[in-house]
Symmetry: C2
Subunit: 355 residues, 2 copies
DNA sequence: TTTGAAAAAGTGTTCGAGCACACAGCACAT
DNA sequence: ATGTGCTGTGTGCTCGAACACTTTTTCAAA
């Protein structure tokens, strides 16, 4: 029943050599005769040896200093969750010598990002987890970090043409399709459907366009009798003020508006509008389990939220770095997190950070 | 930045004693003079000592033999996933001395369950993960295992009045409400809604009734203008034969049938019927990512599936036992797994067993 | 054949916790 | 006076992998 755990010593005995030699083979340290190497390699394979990583990490007392570069949670509460996530990961991984230093920048100020990125470079961490919300400003740093051999993991925003250790986040195209599927399920009669990009610099946010494409394509490819008029708008308003004017205008133009898809976490703005104007026949789908969103989800003004799992992004980001640095595992270049569909009924299970 | 890790040796030095004495204090093994004990305790607190559990588990080579008692996956493919789950957990935890012996019974034969349960008792494992699908037959065994001090974790079926270490599974009531929410979102005009219990011994499956209650209550409590006629049926048919007769009958009786909620994993039977009869205006929601279900989900004959995460049930079941036995953690008496809403667009992320 | 340096192989220590064992000191019984 | 048993304390080995260090083997040049 019990498979015996294979130790280096077992391999050495079976190969009639010593553990030192086996060790050299295992770590490609050379200085081993070819025939012995072959023999040992065969036995390793035969016995299906897996290093006891407990002993491994006990021995190698080395510590790893990781850096996290991301926006300030106190300025945009979306970022609270990733912070919670990486802190949770740090707690789990402290045993393995993982330490994290956060570098927090102001998401509205490019130069704040640049300053912090420079600090990261100066610190020269063993690994970096970064939310590259400033796409263009980040590019030169990626080059620098690559030269310094600092592996970096991206999260939240996927960027082409840089070679991170891994990207953690969602498949934006699919995400859009999913939103479309949900709304489409709830729509019977024809009407207009709004894709709303709220307070975003679209030129720096390719992923929102990707979401929109996924959304549009779903409606185009679905073979339904009813057709829908998909319109998209960038809605910008000063922080603190209401969104009413813009929405009034859109409603005036499209009186048959029956659904709204908000491509970021600001669905609550639309929900607040709908509530105040007492409009109940417009279905609303958005992103992320922020407090104001949850409020309207509970009131069923927001029908569904898609969870981008920001906590998981922080958590898994650190874990990927640890897998690479500590456990020397192969890291897949992309780790897509699930597109969780959240409604009032299953909300609880996604709120509490469970492993 | 880096907090220095405190070792037993550090405590011993500071207390001017030896690590053996500190060790005895830490493990309440007695044989320590009171004043020394106090002094050591104070220092432990002051330095905030936390045992290095890597070294701990390296040393204590103790192995734990866990048993899993569940139905045969080759007789009902639902059980493939829990098996995959506990095997995955075993792989991760082998390092910590966890070994699993499966005890597989025929889910259609009570005596098969009883035989296997007796085998478990004879084996006297260090812990047990059990899917108590035979409620009544299982009861005496729980008593026995409690007396033998074998901690057991329930999964799949929640049972009252036994005191397991933990229950892993879903909140059935919520699960029903969620199904209702989804269907309700897709239903505009009034009509009949069927709750179908397919090939289940309802008397032994309280959780299906709970699902139905959750489902009904959602419709009752929702303040919508349209009202729906909720009917429920037990549908039984011999394995291998089709379900057509029963459904024909129901459709004849309720010509306005607009949705079906299948309370277990057999939604594909209904889907197959709908496909063959070319009925497209009935929405269908069911459970579990079985191959035949996925087929109809892709064809959009099944609109949504709720994932009961059977893989996670096996996986977390073993992990809870390990947390209890190996890591001496507190275990919550109930671990509800998320009610994942699955559709064609987000299916992939729930299929592959990711951590 | 001897020598010597490089290559190959083997030995021993370390990491931190756990635990068996050794041992000293003392009380009490024989 | 010596033995027995118990308490309090300290020492040293173990777990498996890593790696520095030592020893042995090999093989070419002298």
């Amino acid at each position: 029943m019990k498979k015996k755990i294979v130790r280096i010593k077992d391999i050495a005995e079976k190969a009639q050599t010593s553990k030192g030699t086996v060790d050299r083979v295992l770590h490609n340290r050379g200085r081993v005769a070819d025939d012995v190497r072959e023999r040992i390699l065969a036995i390793i394979k035969e016995l299906n040896y897996e290093p006891n990583f407990i002993a491994q990490s006990l021995k190698s007392q080395r510590t790893f200093n990781l850096a996290v570069l991301m926006p300030d949670p106190s300025l945009d509460s979306y970022w609270v969750a990733p912070k919670t996530g990486f802190e949770k990961a740090e707690k789990e991984l402290r045993q393995y010598g993982i330490y994290i230093t956060p570098f927090i920048f102001d998401p509205h100020e490019e130069h704040s990002f640049i300053t912090k990125a420079q600090e990261v470079t100066r610190e020269h961490p063993d690994g970096l987890l970064i939310a590259p919300v400033f796409y263009k400003q980040a590019l030169p740093f990626f080059k620098e970090w690559a030269e310094l051999n600092i592996p970096y993991v991206l999260f939240n925003t996927q960027i082409e043409h840089v070679a991170p250790l891994c990207y953690i986040g969602q498949d934006s195209y699919r995400s859009g399709s999913l939103a479309a599927k949900i709304l489409s399920f709830g729509l019977q009669s024809p009407g207009s459907v709004l894709v709303a990009h709220i307070n975003e610099d679209i030129s720096n946010s390719a992923h929102l366009i990707t979401k929109e494409n996924g959304f549009r394509d779903y409606f185009e490819n679905s073979k339904r009798d009813t057709t829908f008029n998909i319109i998209s708008k960038e809605i910008n308003y000063p922080e603190g003020e209401a969104i009413d004017d813009q929405l009034d205008q859109i409603l005036a133009e499209f009186s048959d508006l029956s659904a709204v898809y908000v491509t970021n976490s600001r669905a609550f703005e639309v929900a607040s509008y709908l509530e105040r104007k007492n409009i109940t026949n417009i279905k609303l789908v958005g992103y992320d389990l922020l407090e104001p969103n949850l409020n309207y989800l509970n009131k069923e003004i927001i029908s569904f939220l898609i969870n981008q799992n920001p906590l998981g992004q922080g958590y898994w980001g650190i874990h990927q770095l640890a897998n690479h640095l500590v456990f020397k595992k192969e890291i897949p270049p992309i780790k897509f997190l699930p597109l969780d569909i959240i409604t009032r009924e299953n909300l609880d299970y996604y709120l509490d950070p469970q492993k």
